[in-house]
Symmetry: C2
Subunit: 292 residues, 2 copies
């Protein structure tokens, strides 16, 4: 019997920024025994060994999950169900499984489809952390310090399984919050999925202009910050769009109305309306997010 916040064998399926940072954080805390990796890019896994992120890697999911007490699935949303099916065949009966997907509805559906009764040991999770860098080399031990990890357990989720995953993230320095699945997906569509679409759209637009090289040359810090998320992993974001499409499309349509209002105020040189709108936005951002 090991302590609730100690992991004997941790299996990470998909060793990118999120998975490798988790490993490094737990190793730093001496909260994990062996870390076993699985991924499709062998060079990345080799790098993981070199960097001390992984103690070992395997070339099949079956071999990777064998004997693991905690399994973390950190693959793009579109790959979740296939991975879950493999895990279901080979994991220990008492293994606790979690994921780190940015949308939870599709993950939960996949888990229900593949895990059967064992879904009680699956704890859907989402660390609100990350960045535009990807791959095992991007990982660092302090990524989760003071960041939120949202868990969205189901009615049938075992309380001990949730507690285990909560303890794992706490060891990484994260704050844990519980949300229900739909609520999570609605909130994240607004604060994360929509902004990514807006940034991708802007960069795509500007890079289609004839003089785009010159245009980018005059971009300053504000533009760099604004478009940073457009350097995020395209596969991950394609999958988020497919997984959380309904919530996202609703918000894009609402956003277009908002932008139309601004365009109309500019067309009619409605200075009062523009000032009202910008002042409201500024005061809300300063209030809710802080003025930096």
């Amino acid at each position: 019997m090991i302590a609730k916040d100690m992991i004997d064998k941790l299996c990470i399926i998909g060793v990118g920024l999120i998975g490798s940072s988790l490993s490094l954080a737990l190793k730093r805390e001496a909260a994990v025994g062996e870390v076993i990796g699985y991924g499709r890019n062998q060079a990345n896994l080799e790098k993981g060994l070199e960097l001390g992120v992984l103690d070992r890697y395997e070339t099949t999911i079956a071999a990777a999950v064998e004997g693991a007490d905690v399994i973390v699935v950190a693959v793009p949303l579109g790959a979740m169900q296939t991975v879950f099916a493999e895990i279901a065949k080979s994991a220990r009966n008492d293994a606790v499984i979690t994921d780190v997907g940015s949308a939870k509805g599709s993950v939960v559906q996949a888990a229900l489809a593949e895990f059967g009764d064992s879904v009680s040991r699956f704890v859907p999770g989402h660390p609100i952390a990350g960045g535009e860098q990807s791959g095992v080399e991007a990982g660092y031990a302090t990524l989760y310090q003071g960041r939120r990890v949202i868990l969205t357990p189901l009615a049938q989720t075992d309380a001990a399984a949730s507690a285990r995953i909560e303890a794992m993230w706490r060891r990484c320095g994260a704050d844990i919050e519980y949300l229900d699945v739909e609520h999570h997906d609605k909130v994240l569509a607004a604060t994360s999925h929509l902004p990514h679409m807006l940034a991708y759209a802007l960069v795509h637009q500007l890079s289609s202009l004839n003089d785009h090289e010159e245009i980018f040359r005059y971009a300053a810090g504000g533009f760099r910050d604004f478009t940073r998320i457009a350097s995020s992993d395209p596969v991950m974001w394609r999958d988020v769009c497919i997984a959380n499409g309904d919530a996202l499309v609703d918000l894009i349509e609402q956003y277009q109305h908002e932008l139309n209002s601004i365009a109309q105020a500019i067309r009619t040189a409605d200075a009062d309306e523009l000032l009202r709108l910008f002042s409201h936005a500024k005061s809300q951002r300063d209030l809710q997010i802080g003025s930096c």
Copy 2:
């Protein structure tokens, strides 16, 4: 006769982040004698004295510009013409005048209307620097280090006047570029004015949602970066919209098409199209701006 890159009396009309940083940079370089401020907010001017940004301030533009060899106008675009009219009445015959407006077409029109033949000593300028903070306290001496300052002189601009303003900004550590007025306004509409509209629209949208406080609570670093520019000065941005409305509305309409394409790809779950679009945007941003 003083050296080309020495200023005897510098008058700053509008003592905010841009004007006070200019003063601090020139003072650090010992490239200026006296700095005289004018502005409508007396507390801000008093603060400027305290902080050593200003050596003196005046309560009329006439008194402020008297005897100044260089006059920098750093007021919102909507206030430019009124200020120019005052300067025209009271400035020295050989004073060189510049501005720092984010759009140049409207400024040039105002200058042509107010300065008459003296427009030859007016050098339209735009430091590509700044931030969301405003007021004299936000200023710092290194703001312009390694940043671009765009000058957009007219056919009738005196070469010596341009050289004087160029030398002033170089003393602050800036790189100087020359663009024509229309070109400047088109480029800046794309890299600066449009992104500001997009950020204001997003924050305005989200803060109109019922659960906006909770939504903002789950915002992470990406959202903070993406919306930072929505904390910018509303009056300044209202004026930019009015001054550069045509270029801006064109780009907003083009952006709406771009966003429609993404929404449509999400609606139809067109994974290939989404991946193509995001990959293109990411590679362009990484290439043109750098991957951070």
